[in-house]
């Protein structure tokens, strides 16, 4: 019984080499693009455009149910070692929460990556996690709750705008990759 269950589990969560490489590429590009395009725009949440785009691309390009979360884990770990956003190990959580929302969206909406509207919605939802992560980190350093709430809401609003922009690019790219037979 246990053997059968474990075999079914392994089959369900099997990650073929091609998909693993694709997720790895997305994680690398998510980090590299941020390194190369270090824009000091002083606009809150502008990094979300890259993060959401690559995480959604990772999920949209592979049948892997946990594609975005796995990519987020890889990218978050790399970002931690590169010292992004001065968040230390908490940056992994920031990436991971976004990835989990994208995976959940893809699970609930099978047509997600063909529709601009659905992609915008899921990207918005994924980006809105910025509020919780920002609030949590600010609370950890002892910020006044009222100030923290206002500040986190402002940061999340910026992140949602940029995240939606990142999400809107995904259907176009997925469609092109499918047309070229790069992905199934």
């Amino acid at each position: 019984m246990m053997k059968r269950l474990s075999a079914r589990f392994c089959e369900k969560f099997r990650l073929p080499l091609k998909d693993a490489l694709f997720l790895g590429f997305c994680a690398v590009f998510a980090v590299l693009t941020r390194v190369v395009l270090r824009l000091h725009l002083h606009i809150s949440g502008h990094a979300m455009i890259i993060k959401v785009f690559f995480l959604m691309l990772a999920r949209g390009s592979t049948p892997c149910l946990y594609g975005a979360s796995f990519t987020a884990l890889l990218a978050g770990t790399a970002a931690m070692f590169l010292g992004f956003a001065k968040a230390g190990p908490l940056i992994i959580v920031k990436y991971l929460v976004t990835g989990i929302v994208i995976d959940a969206g893809a699970f609930l909406l099978p047509m997600l990556f063909r529709s601009y509207v659905l992609c915008a919605l899921v990207a918005g939802a994924a980006s809105s996690t910025k509020f919780f992560t920002a609030y949590g980190i600010n609370a950890l350093v002892g910020m006044d709750p009222v100030v923290n709430l206002q500040r986190s809401l402002l940061e999340a609003a910026g992140a949602v705008v940029f995240g939606v922009a990142g999400g809107l690019m995904v259907p176009m790219v997925v469609r092109r990759l499918k047309a070229y037979d790069v992905i199934k």
Binding site: K178, A179, Y180, D181, K184
Partner: protein, 456 residues
């Protein structure tokens, strides 16, 4: 005879299509025999070749592919040269490309040189080992790939449409190689629309009927009686204005070697000119220079009374590249044809009907919503032809437009070109690697030989 490979009730379906490309295929390949696989464009010949090589995804396969007993034959090596050689080339220089297979077989470096040179001389590719692969013509790339496979001594050699890329000299060289290989017990499978040069070698013909079924026999295109419009000249072009004038033109290639020089000719409105020459004589280079994509080393080109500039020629000149993969880039065939029309400012009401008409003329209207990147080489070629024809430019440059097309499709394309030439006075210049077969469509023949270009 030893059976090298068997397909038993083999079927294959591509993941994004519902209909099987191959259905219930049963075949045996014996050592030392030559088989020729025929069938219309897009019937699944290349897919069957990929199945023999074991390159198809397992998910879409059913049935059995049985190789030889390893105890008798050791590692069973299958060599496959695809129709578009550029998809298969790995190295940047000629020598490295041929040596790559030997490296994989763990041959000692000291022994490689002689084997690489012998393989290159077998296919009659006389280039230095450090010659850049990117500078070879399509025909030369095809020869290079054959050499790269021969050096690994395959037991089964599959060639996909060799006649589409090789000139008569190249085909004669391949014929001799295949004859020799047969004698040494190597099995050969040719996927070929025009098996003429290999008829004496072929032991057995197979045909794919377009529905995925394989049967014995040779498929022949049911050609309609040739339309008199194809052979009739538009007449009167001798008094038409000169659209393209070339004076004292020369082009220098790799290593300061002249490709051709002292080229002079005029092409008038409505003329239909074929440019012939063997592989690597500079046919594609000539078209590129005439279209302004390459700068000549000397001389003058006047096209539509101006220096050639691709930006200024956009509305007036259409170019078909030899490799359709370099030309098509949109997601669907419909979008591919719509792209030039949108760029040229056609109204959104006119575009759908023009797309429909052009696709119907080319016989590919059923592919309108398919991705052009997943089609067969011949179908890609038809899509590329349709996309350059759709805006009806005044002049068309076509680089080997009939490569990879079966007889019926070739005739269809010729009919379209002839009718557009007659009705719209479209000037046509196209290349061919077979100087012996000049289509009746042509009313002028430029030939390239020994670095000289002249009328024949």
């Amino acid at each position: 005879m030893d059976v090298l490979l068997q397909l038993k009730n083999f079927s294959y379906t591509y993941s994004e299509t519902k209909a099987a490309v191959l259905q219930g295929i049963n075949l045996e390949i014996e050592a030392g025999r030559c088989y020729c696989l025929t069938g219309p464009t897009g019937s699944g010949k290349t897919t069957l070749a990929l199945a023999m090589k074991g390159l198809l995804e397992k998910d879409g396969c059913s049935g059995e592919v049985v190789g030889p007993d390893p105890s008798d034959h050791g590692d069973f090596r299958v060599g496959l040269v695809l129709q578009n050689p550029e998809t298969q080339l790995l190295a940047t220089s000629v020598g490295a490309e041929v040596a790559f297979g030997l490296e994989n077989l763990c041959v000692e470096p000291g022994r490689m040189l002689a084997r690489v040179e012998a393989a290159l001389s077998l296919v009659d590719l006389r280039k230095p080992l450090d010659y850049p692969v990117a500078r070879l013509s399509m025909g030369q790339k095809y020869r290079l790939l054959i050499a790269a496979l021969l050096v690994m001594e395959p037991q089964l050699l599959i060639l996909d449409e060799p006649a589409a890329q090789l000139d008569p000299e190249g085909l004669a060289a391949v014929h001799d190689i295949l004859s020799d290989l047969k004698g040494r017990g190597v099995a050969v499978v040719l996927c070929e629309h025009h098996p003429g040069p290999f008829l004496d070698l072929v032991d057995r013909f197979w045909q794919l009927d377009g529905s995925g079924r394989l049967s014995a026999g040779r498929w022949r295109a049911s050609l309609m009686p040739s339309d008199s419009t194809v052979s009739k000249t538009a007449g009167g072009y001798s008094v038409a204005p000169v659209l393209l004038g070339v004076r004292d033109l020369a082009f220098t290639g790799h290593g300061d070697v002249p490709v051709w020089e002292e080229v002079c000719f005029d092409i008038r409105r409505g003329q239909r000119v074929v440019v012939t020459g063997l592989n690597g004589t500079g046919k594609t280079t000539l078209l590129r220079v005439l279209a302004g994509f390459l700068k000549p080393s000397r001389g003058r080109v006047r096209i539509f009374d101006a220096e050639p500039d691709p930006r200024l020629l956009r509305r007036r000149l259409g170019c078909l590249f030899q490799n359709p993969q370099k030309q098509i880039f949109e997601n669907t065939v419909r979008e591919e044809l719509a792209f030039p029309l949108k760029r040229l400012g056609w109204s959104s009401r006119e575009i759908p009907s023009r797309i429909e008409d052009t696709l119907r003329l080319c016989g590919i209207e059923h592919l309108v919503d398919d991705s052009p990147h997943k089609l067969s080489y011949g179908q890609k070629h038809l899509v590329a032809i349709a996309s350059v024809l759709a805006p009806a430019p005044e002049m068309l440059f076509l680089d080997d437009p009939f490569a990879g097309l079966d007889g019926a499709r070739q005739q269809d394309v010729m009919e379209i070109l002839a009718s557009w030439n007659r009705e719209r006075e479209m000037t046509l210049v196209w290349t061919s690697h077979d100087p012996g077969e000049i289509p009746s469509l042509a009313d002028g023949h430029l030939h390239i030989e020994g670095g000289c270009i002249g009328w024949r």
